[in-house]
């Protein structure tokens, strides 16, 4: 054990050098217990928060420019301010339905340090004057659910959750809800539908965002697990200390889950905004480069929904705005690295298949379009492609996401990147997400598609009879 290594008790996490804001306790094998949490400053942030007024806590969070870690990167402090005045009750919903392909940071946070999440949720409830919080955890994350359930029981028993927390007037109930394993429920309005007991399908927004009309028709703040996990540290150390890390527009640290053809894949806590992709993928402190003897072909910078990046984009910083301007997104911080042995068509097919399977079935273009894309890609991959298939794929993609779709600049084709996000004919971005790998792969590796189509093997037909 030591710095810069995997931890046996925290598979997937790489304990690297650098500031630790949310993963500080991961080195301890029993980091998920209340005893370890309290021994290492757990709930100090809550105690400190309770000494101040809710408004000042809100101010600190706003001042810290804590960006939402779910994918959109919207400042949490600003989002908190969107509740219409005078409408009660209000709810806090913690989005633990992490299911973006390539992402597994929230799972680690929930498994390794559930008390940090509970503390963060309580701080948010205190700042917003809420008394009811829902923890929505993805169905497949059995260990995370178990650990959170145990942690909640411990916290209730210790008087840290429930009525008159720590002897103050603050009373918050936290309800743990197990999801049923639908990707779309990670979308906040679908999550709210699911939490209400309905089928998880997104609601149309605008006109009403959850902050105005959310769970049970009441104002609801939906925050990502990692976002809330930042709160104890921020309250303990102040906004200025938080902003000392990272860049001016993206302060603090951020967890990145790197997978694929790198020497040391895993989840890293990285300074936000100042680190570049190259540092993360090649740095000795991080992934240590592409596996021996191979070179980078492409990488997905922000989970399966994000348009692909190529070696030219390696020097972009890990920050939402420049990544968006280059035609992709940081999303939920999942980087999938693929070397030159990767078949672009197959990689594209694999990602599209995920979205086709996970489409909730609400909007026609997504429900029908994503599975159509999958069947065409499968056909091309199987050597049964037709000459017009590539353009047809792009046109189908255009019917899901009309207009130019954001992709990384492809100098070879003389194209410029279009900033994120794309236009869509659907309610939520799931349908357009399936377009990301298609446009990325075809723009860059059209020749691979063409090769599969033109090299199709004809099925030999044996001539029989006279």
């Amino acid at each position: 054990m030591g710095v810069n290594s995997y931890l046996a008790h925290a598979p997937g996490y790489v304990d690297n050098e650098g500031p630790k804001i949310v993963t500080g306790r991961f080195v301890h094998e029993d980091s998920h217990t209340l005893a370890r949490s309290l021994a290492t400053g757990g709930y100090d942030g809550l105690k400190r928060a309770l000494e101040q007024s809710p408004t000042s806590i809100h101010d600190i969070v706003r001042d810290a420019t804590l960006l939402g870690r779910g994918g959109a990167g919207f400042p949490a402090g600003v989002k908190w301010g969107f509740c219409p005045p005078g409408v009660w009750p209000r709810y806090l919903v913690v989005n633990g339905d992490e299911s973006e392909p390539g992402t597994y940071k929230d799972r680690l946070l929930m498994q390794r340090d559930p008390h940090q999440l509970i503390e963060g949720s309580l701080i948010a409830c205190y700042a917003l004057g809420l008394s009811q919080c829902f923890l929505y955890v993805r169905g497949e994350m059995a260990l995370a659910q178990e650990r959170i359930a145990i942690a909640l029981n411990e916290a209730y028993d210790a008087g840290l959750v429930g009525t008159n927390i720590l002897g103050t007037d603050l009373s918050v109930d936290i309800v743990l809800h197990w999801g049923a394993g639908a990707y779309i429920v990670g979308e906040e309005t679908a999550l709210i539908e699911s939490l209400e007991g309905n089928r998880g399908m997104p609601r149309l927004k605008p006109p009403f965002f959850p902050a105005a009309i959310g769970l049970y028709g009441k104002p609801t703040i939906v925050n990502n697990v990692e976002t809330l996990a930042n709160l104890p540290w921020i309250i303990n150390n102040g906004a200025a200390a938080y902003k000392a890390f990272g860049s001016e527009t993206s302060p603090g640290t951020r967890m990145f889950a790197v997978s694929g053809h790198v020497k040391r894949p895993g989840v890293y806590e990285v300074e936000h905004g100042t680190t570049t992709f190259r540092e993360l993928l090649y740095g000795d402190n991080y992934c240590q480069g592409i596996r021996a003897g191979h070179e980078l072909k492409m990488f997905i910078p922000g989970g399966g929904s994000a348009p692909w990046f190529f070696p030219e984009q390696l020097d972009l910083p890990l920050e939402a705005r420049p990544v968006g301007a280059a035609g992709s997104m940081l999303g939920s911080g999942a980087i999938v690295v693929m070397d030159e042995t990767t078949d672009a068509v197959k990689a594209c097919l694999r990602v599209v298949r995920f979205f086709a399977r996970e489409s909730c079935g609400k909007c026609t273009p997504c429900r029908e379009g994503t599975s159509w894309e999958e069947t065409i890609l499968q056909r091309i991959h199987d050597g049964l492609g037709r000459p017009g298939d590539i353009d047809m794929l792009l046109d189908i993609a255009d019917n899901i996401s009309p207009g130019p779709y954001p992709t990384a600049a492809d100098e070879a084709n003389g194209l410029d990147a279009v900033p994120f996000p794309p236009k869509q004919t659907t309610i939520c971005p799931l349908g357009p997400s399936s377009v990301a790998p298609i446009t990325s792969a075809i723009r860059r590796f059209r020749h691979e598609f063409e090769a599969k189509i033109t090299a199709r093997e004809l099925i030999p037909v044996e001539a029989t009879g006279p």
């Binding site: 079935g361 429900r367 029908e368 047809m392 009309p402």
Partner: protein, 841 residues
């Protein structure tokens, strides 16, 4: 329905033309109102927008740049710029239609929807023309039954959410839902839970493809072979319908959206009732008594076919003989509530103006006196359910008996700010949507209503606790109250109900909706098919002179009601009885009296469409035209007149009811002076005080019908209409601690003639059961399904029991007209209520 929230007008530019939208109006509706149709599948004006199909995407610039927006979810905002024909819009429409069609089977040639299919139509108008999809389409077993009448073909389904939204949002029966996800998403029922909704047929009507089909119409016709006419379904709501026929056979009834009444919905019982019209047991020729060789002889034991001339002559001579022997009082007419309003007038004129008898009653002991019903100030359904009003329910369960009114009530309770107070003896299908359930003990409802109105809510009254009384009083306070009143149970006399009405008339702002059984009962009471009344809501005393001048003669004294006529028949003073579509043997609460009365009559003349048990015992049977086989006017519970149109010819030689009356009058050497329904209506409009100013042209022209009396004073010179006077209150029957008080109510599917002659519904009538509160059942040692003996002062019957939490303590509910046991045997019409004792066998 998304009504505009206020009258503010919002300017919106649609395709370069500035139009006026109402603030809050959805863009798709505003465009359509201004002549720009935006294609859609999931949008339905009577349901909440869902934005699923994406067909209505149009390019909208609401100030932040143009983008594709679903117009079915976008409220109009000032200055919105909309382009429904831009390249981007067209591309999106092309794309969505291509997506919808890639997995849609091209089985249009064998699809019932082909020819009237929104998917076909919009593909022709907006679609790409050809498909680029070369893969195998999605496959499911096709079709699967999801209820007794509805089939689901999941391959054709385009997942628009209309049927599922209807089921959960409108009907409150969320029994169909989306299952699975992605392109495998499908509508289906839950395992072992069929889509057993009374309103399932509506989903077939609103399905934009051929995914949902109804058994009675499957493969019966092609839409382009159907002829159609807008008409009114003869139920007490006066639901507006479209009747469709092919080759002189009614093949389908669809709901028509009328703001005033049914909003386009129908119950399955009404929607599929046309099956009975073409049933091979319809009466198609007149029948008279004859011998087994088919010869018409007076003393024969059989009913034999004969000509109209012989049958009418036989009926006329029987009437003449009775007139000579016992005077006009020896003749009676029972029934007529299912006739058109015109035919009711003609029969009233025949009975009261030609024969001269006042023994006329359209109700069979299960209604309320016309002197009460026609005297009450009425409201319209829409006003009764306007936000801020209150509704009192003192009727049969609307879900079971008056389905479309139930849907209106349900909508108002869910969406609108109305309070509902239920005084009926048992809870209705509205369930928890009711504000206060003050379920009065049968016999005590007058006292309960009195306590609520007077605010004496400190002690228990009639089985209602003080808390409920107070809640009921609070729910009615400072609101415009509409009392929907009928006969919730025939085991309780009308007296207590009338006492309740009398109490409610003292409220500051109150009106009524009389909700009685049988299709055109409102018309029958208006037309004087009831003792003591004359057409136009006037009494013999008040209008006698006026009608004597017009008709020549009018009975001097008030006559007998149905019970009185049957008793008079038994004692021999009534010798000829005319049954106008009435079946006293099956429908009169005292079956024994009915059977003795009919047997004692010298001559029973039956006018009917089926050979019911009473008809089978008649001496002269005259086959009548049924629904859609004759034209006329319908009157609903509001007093709303709407046209009934003829679509097909009556079977055989069956004739319209008004014509039968005219023929009979002619055979009695009298001329009614009526040659057509229109001429009958002209006479009604000329004579009836309540119908002044309602001409046939006006009735036909108004989409939502015409409510009488008209607000102008066209009838000022006519006799005064009847006014309400409270009768002496009925005495309250003390509670027998060892007995349960009987409630005899009705269910949607029963042994009724129409239901039993519809192949798709006949089997849905369950067996009779006695329901009681689980604690009462436990006290009696009765478990679910146990056979019990139920004994009243009159008789005892045996039937299975069912504990039911919805039945208040101390009451027992047995539905009428169900196979297995006849609850009528227990009921004594002479007592206010019926108490029964229940014993296990």
């Amino acid at each position: 329905m998304t009504a505009p929230t206020d009258a503010d007008v919002v300017p919106v530019t649609v395709n370069g033309v500035e139009v006026e939208a109402n603030a809050g109006e959805l863009l798709i509706d505003a465009c359509e109102r201004n002549g720009v149709y935006i294609p859609r599948f999931c949008h339905h004006p009577r349901m909440k927008p869902v934005g699923m199909c994406r067909m209505c995407l149009v390019e909208v610039d609401a100030g932040r740049g143009a983008s594709l927006q679903p117009s079915c979810m976008l409220p109009c905002t000032p200055g919105m710029i909309v382009d429904t024909e831009s390249d981007l819009t067209k591309k999106a429409q092309d794309g969505v239609l291509e997506f919808l069609l890639i997995n849609h089977p091209l089985d249009c040639p064998v699809c019932d929807k082909g020819g009237e299919c929104p998917l076909q139509d919009q593909t022709m108008a907006y679609g790409p023309g050809e498909s680029r999809f070369v893969e195998e389409k999605r496959h499911y077993e096709k079709p699967i039954p999801i209820s007794d009448t509805v089939y689901l073909d999941r391959e054709r389904c385009i997942l628009c959410d209309r049927c599922t939204r209807f089921a959960s949002e409108v009907a409150g029966d969320p029994l169909i839902h989306f299952q699975d996800r992605g392109s495998q998403t499908q509508v289906n029922t839950f395992p072992d839970e069929p889509f057993a909704s009374y309103f399932s047929g509506n989903t077939v009507q609103i399905c934009p493809v051929g995914a949902l089909t109804a058994k009675p119409y499957r493969f019966k016709a092609r839409p382009w072979d159907l002829e159609e006419v807008d008409s009114t379904f003869p139920n007490p709501m006066g639901d507006r319908v479209n009747v469709q026929s092919s080759r002189d056979r009614v093949l389908r009834i669809q709901g028509v959206d009328s703001d005033a009444t049914n909003w386009g919905w129908l119950t399955d019982r009404d929607r599929f009732s046309f099956e009975a019209l073409s049933h091979d047991q319809r009466l198609v020729t007149p029948l008279v008594r004859g011998d087994s060789l088919g010869n018409a002889t007076d003393d024969g034991d059989e009913l034999v076919a004969t000509s109209w001339a012989v049958a009418v002559e036989r009926a006329a001579s029987a009437i003449t003989a009775s007139l000579e022997a016992g005077g006009a009082e020896s003749i009676g007419v029972i029934g007529g509530a299912n006739l058109t309003t015109e035919a009711q007038y003609v029969w009233a004129k025949l009975a009261k103006g030609v024969i001269g008898t006042d023994n006329v009653d359209a109700q069979l002991g299960d209604g309320l006196p016309a002197q009460v019903v026609t005297a009450l100030p009425r409201n319209t359904i829409s006003d009764a359910m306007a936000p801020g009003s209150a509704v009192v329910l003192l009727v049969d369960d609307p879900k079971e008996q008056f389905g479309t009114l139930f849907l209106r009530l349900r909508h108002a309770a869910v969406e609108g700010d109305i309070t509902i107070v239920e005084l009926s003896p048992i809870a209705s299908g509205l369930g928890s949507l009711v504000t206060v359930g003050a379920h009065a003990r049968p016999g005590d409802v007058g006292a309960v209503a009195r306590a609520i109105v007077d605010g004496r809510t400190d002690v228990e009254v009639g089985g209602v606790e003080p808390a409920e009384l107070q809640a009921a009083a609070a729910a009615l306070a400072a609101r415009a109250v509409t009392v929907i009143v009928g006969r919730p149970s025939v085991a309780e006399q009308a007296g207590p109900i009338i006492d309740a009405i009398a109490a409610f008339t003292e409220l500051e702002s109150v009106s009524f909706l009389p909700l009685l059984r049988r299709g055109n009962i409102s018309g029958a009471l208006d037309m004087g098919l009831t003792p003591g009344m004359l057409p136009g809501r006037t009494t013999l005393a008040e209008g006698g002179e006026w009608y004597r001048a017009a008709w020549g003669t009018v009975p001097a004294d008030s006559g007998l009601d149905t019970a009185g006529m049957l008793e008079a028949a038994v004692d021999g003073s009534l010798t000829t009885l005319v049954l106008l579509g009435a079946d006293p043997l099956a429908d009169f609460p005292d079956a024994d009296l009915a059977s003795r009365g009919l047997a004692a009559c010298r001559t029973v003349i039956a006018v009917d469409i089926f050979a019911s048990s009473s008809v089978a015992n008649a001496d002269v049977v005259l086959p009548a035209a049924g629904f859609a086989e004759g034209a006329g006017t319908h009157t609903n519970l509001e007093g709303r007149l709407s046209p009934l149109m003829q679509k097909v010819n009556p079977p055989g030689t069956a004739r319209a009811d008004w014509l039968i009356a005219a023929e009979l009058a002619w055979a009695l050497r009298a001329d009614l002076g009526i040659e057509s329904p229109e001429s009958a209506w002209a006479e009604i409009e000329r004579l009836a005080p309540s119908h002044a100013g309602a001409t046939v042209e006006q009735v036909r022209a108004a989409h939502d019908g015409l409510v009488i009396p008209r607000p102008d004073d066209a009838g000022a010179d006519r006799p005064a209409m009847v006014s309400f006077s409270a009768p002496v209150p009925t005495e309250i029957v003390p509670v027998d601690g060892y007995a349960l008080r009987l409630v005899a109510d009705r269910r949607l599917y029963d042994q009724g003639t129409i239901v039993q002659h519809c192949a798709s519904m006949a089997h849905q009538s369950d067996l009779a059961r006695i329901s009681m509160h689980p604690l009462d059942a436990a006290a009696l040692g009765v478990r679910d399904g146990d056979l019990v003996r139920v004994t009243s002062a009159r008789a005892s019957i045996e039937l299975p029991a069912r504990p039911d939490r919805c039945v208040p303590r101390g009451r027992a509910v047995i539905p009428l007209n169900r196979a297995g046991a006849d609850v009528r045997a227990l009921i004594d019409l002479a007592t206010v209520v019926t108490d029964v004792r229940v014993a296990t066998l």
